[in-house]
């Protein structure tokens, strides 16, 4: 059975995010870290968040149920940090 450590998941997530934003001209001062916010820091639009979710599901070859992360009380969350996504993935993978 493959075990995914928190560090490995974060490394994978950062790589996927970097790949996604490579043409956007965005270069965060400290790189992408756990505190990086997708919308505020990287200017993600809703479709980019979905793109990220699909890319993660394809990478791990499984459905992850991101609606539980992206929805709160019937509305989209306004932003997400890399750390929040990592914690969610650690729980789901």
């Amino acid at each position: 059975m493959v075990v995914f450590t928190k560090e490995a998941i974060e490394k994978t997530l950062v790589e996927i995010v970097e790949d996604l934003i490579q043409d956007w001209g965005i270069d965060p001062d400290d790189g992408i870290t756990g505190t990086t916010l997708l919308v505020n820091d990287l200017d993600f639009a809703s479709v980019d968040i979905i793109q990220l979710c699909v890319a993660i599901e394809q990478h791990y070859d499984r459905k992850i149920g991101f609606q539980d992360l992206l929805m709160k009380d019937g509305s989209y969350v306004s932003d997400l940090s890399i750390a929040q996504m990592v914690d969610f993935l650690v729980d789901r993978i």
């Binding site: 919308v39 200017d43 639009a45 809703s46 479709v47 968040i49 979905i50 890319a55 992206l70 932003d79």
Partner: protein
């Protein structure tokens, strides 16, 4: 998510496999203006994939699909969709479409009705009804107008394409970091979503630097005679407070075979604000086919 070249543009789409095996029917979901496939993804894609293979895509000029100088007439955007279906070898599907997405879907239906196993139309407003609506009173609009005036927005709720103009006005506020009231945010947030300036910028670029505004606000090609010929199963749902309700009333006369539902107390964006109701109505409709 994959891209495909259709009708001279790069179209972004995603397919969610059906959980019930490989023999499932197809479901295609078409979003409205100033949003993207994410509009459907979170609330619906996973739930509906229990029964169908679900295909979502970004309309021309939206999401991660190409922005072109022209080509935004509903008829041409129906060709975009037609070619996407051809690429995916989808000959027949159920469709769910919101707002302008419904105009695109109806144009495709007029072009090729055999594609349609059924259609769920959510709050779609057609141009022939918009043009005559100005003489009518839109009661809920009277409640919205003071909210716009509080923000010094020069938008008249009596305009036929009021919604498009509101989106542009709010997008300007968004990129200028102007704080807007919850009331105003509630009117548009299901579209702009996630406070993204990129979505706001994309909408302003589309409306300001391309032929989109002119083409989107022109004749959508949907005459009542053309619509009357559509005889596949249709569920048409309209928000009680929506400006589009007048189209719903017109279509009620055009399609005696269709199922009409009013979402009480809801506005234009009930697919987001009242998703469980739309979902349940879809399920009941599909179960009855």
């Amino acid at each position: 998510m994959p891209f495909v070249q259709t009708n001279g543009i790069r179209t972004n789409y995603v397919q969610i496999d059906c959980e019930s095996g490989n023999d499932c029917e197809d479901l295609v979901m078409v979003h409205g203006l100033a949003t993207n496939l994410a509009f459907w993804y979170i609330h619906y894609a996973s739930a509906f994939s229990k029964r169908y293979r679900v295909t979502l895509y970004d309309l021309r000029g939206h999401g991660r699909s190409s922005i072109t100088d022209s080509g935004y007439t509903p008829k041409n955007m129906a060709v975009d969709l037609q070619q996407l279906l051809d690429h995916l070898s989808i000959e027949r599907a159920h469709f769910v479409a919101h707002s302008f997405g419904g105009v695109v879907a109806l144009n495709l239906a007029c072009l090729n009705p055999d594609h349609f196993a059924s259609l769920v139309l959510a709050d779609t407003h057609i141009s022939i009804v918009r043009r005559v609506q100005k003489t009518k009173n839109w009661e809920f609009g009277k409640r919205i107008q003071p909210i716009l005036e509080q923000h010094s927005l020069d938008v008249d709720v009596r305009e036929p394409y009021f919604g498009y103009r509101l989106l542009s006005a709010v997008a300007h506020l968004q990129i200028q970091n102007v704080e807007i009231s919850q009331e105003l945010e509630d009117l548009v947030s299901p579209l702009m979503g996630n406070n993204s300036k990129r979505t706001a910028n994309q909408w302003l670029k589309l409306m300001g630097t391309t032929q989109a505004e002119k083409e989107l606000m022109g004749d959508d090609g949907l005459s009542l005679d053309r619509l009357r010929k559509l005889n596949f199963p249709i569920l048409a749902m309209y928000g009680e407070y929506s400006q589009a309700m007048s189209t719903g009333e017109q279509l009620l006369e055009v399609w005696p075979h269709a199922d009409f539902r009013q979402i009480r107390g809801a506005g234009h964006f009930f697919p987001i604000t009242r998703s469980s109701e739309l979902m349940e109505n879809c399920r009941q409709f599909w179960n009855g086919l």
